[in-house]
């Protein structure tokens, strides 16, 4: 089946089997390896991408389901060659150790701030509760998302 998606602003098409998972479409077919495959059982959340702006676990979606829709992966976070506020914040606050969960954490953080620009720590904990960090670096991940919220609020004064 032909699948056409808008991924990180670019239109990409490919012929795929219906059973191809979205993770493998993104990594294997499109060559964007920033999206990771972890547990492969809908538990760990490292394969999270934004589908029409909403975080989904791409190991539990078939590529054909994304036909005609838009996808954002970690490669799409930077804008005009600049790291996004979320990426800068993870860098600044050391929001990663091994880095394996980081793309998903930054995408979930980005989606959270779109909906809730000034989250409490509890709201952040709740939002990332579908994502595992095997390094248990949660405290710095929460600090990073808070720092990104602060940077964004400075960018656009309320």
């Amino acid at each position: 089946m032909n699948v056409t998606v808008n991924i990180n602003g670019a239109e990409r098409s490919a012929d795929v089997e219906p059973r191809l998972l979205l993770t493998d479409f993104i990594r294997g077919t499109l060559g964007l390896t920033g999206t990771h495959m972890g547990c492969d059982t809908t538990s760990c959340g490292v394969c999270t991408v934004l589908l029409d702006g909403v975080p989904v676990k791409s190991c539990t979606v078939f590529a054909v389901q994304a036909n005609g829709r838009s996808i954002t992966t970690v490669e799409g976070l930077k804008q005009n060659g600049q790291l996004s506020a979320m990426q800068q914040a993870f860098h600044q606050e050391h929001g990663l150790q091994c880095g394996f969960c980081t793309p998903a954490m930054m995408l979930v953080g980005t989606a959270l701030l779109e909906e809730n620009p000034d989250p409490t720590d509890d709201e952040i904990r709740w939002a990332i509760s579908g994502n595992l960090c095997r390094c248990t670096g949660y405290m710095n991940i929460i600090k990073s998302i808070q720092a990104a919220a602060a940077m964004k609020s400075e960018e656009v004064p309320a």
Binding site: R19, T42, G45, T60, V64
Partner: protein
């Protein structure tokens, strides 16, 4: 892990979808959120020869308050329920359960109606519906059937939905201003199946007595279990801590949990009793406080 090969159909009208179901029946499986079906296919516990993706059907993502019912359409995601203002006032058991279904990312795709149609005994929604009262709307080329949830839910992974039918909505009974409800859930980690889940619902009469009560249990029986004996005990009584304790004891005795990695049967049975008491107490607080 990869599923067996399958054909994929994604119709854009309900008539077309029902036509496909009528023609293919048991040889096709409906794909809504896919958060249970896709993992089962990857483990090859399910090997449907074809999938009917209903995500492109228009007009099935409604949450509506109408005629004493809260109507939840087939494409309403768990997170839509979490965010809905209509739900907060219409049914307190539904509102309490929604944030505890799986994890926040799974909630973005998984659907209420899909969960009911799948009918995993560890699913939260069937208990909510059994406790509060609900009807399931099924459509096919033959027409529409509206079944009470007590009839719809047959056994583990079994419902009265025929292979040619699509669950198009669930109609949940609304709580009145003298009604309240709750969902108590114990889970090892976010996104795990419930170790124990207890849905409760109470309606008071004008004298503050219990006009009707609902209790249903998740993950502690071969299927979601409505505890009719405890509901009968509560009906017509003046609410009290002792009464709720007695209802909890009945629920604990009615369930039949398994000894497993989530806990011993004795422990789960104990938690059922405690959660039933707590859930009824919280339901009563809401019922006595009016709409909150």
């Amino acid at each position: 892990m990869y599923p067996s090969k399958f054909d994929y159909l994604a119709p854009t009208t309900l008539d077309e979808a029902l036509g496909v179901l009528a023609a293919k029946g048991p040889a096709i499986k409906v794909l809504a959120g896919g958060q249970s079906l896709v993992p089962m296919m990857k483990l090859r516990l399910a090997n449907p020869p074809a999938l009917l993706d209903i995500n492109r059907l228009p007009g099935l993502d409604f949450i509506e308050d109408s005629n004493g019912h809260l109507r939840i359409g087939a494409l309403v995601r768990h997170n839509d329920v979490v965010k809905s203002d209509a739900v907060k006032t219409a049914n307190h058991t539904v509102a309490a359960a929604a944030p505890w279904v799986s994890d926040p990312i799974v909630r973005n795709l998984g659907t209420v109606c899909g969960s009911l149609a799948h009918h995993d005994p560890e699913g939260d929604w069937a208990s909510v519906m059994l406790a509060t009262g609900a009807e399931v709307v099924l459509k096919s080329t033959q027409g529409e059937r509206v079944l009470p949830i007590t009839d719809f839910c047959v056994d583990m992974f079994q419902t009265l939905c025929r292979p040619d039918e699509l669950v198009t909505e669930v109609r949940v009974k609304k709580h009145s201003a003298r009604g309240g409800g709750d969902y108590q859930k114990l889970e090892r980690k976010v996104g795990d199946y419930a170790t124990v889940g207890v849905a409760t619902s109470i309606e008071l009469d004008e004298h503050g007595r219990i006009a009707s009560a609902g209790i249903a249990l998740t993950s502690v029986y071969a299927h979601n279990l409505k505890v009719a004996d405890a509901e009968i005990l509560l009906k017509g009584k003046q609410p009290s801590a002792e009464l709720f304790q007695e209802a909890g004891a009945i629920a604990g005795a009615a369930c039949d949990p398994a000894d497993d990695h989530r806990g011993s049967a004795a422990y789960k049975r104990h938690v059922v009793g405690v959660f039933t008491e707590r859930g009824l107490t919280r339901s009563l607080e809401i019922a006595q406080g009016g709409q909150s």
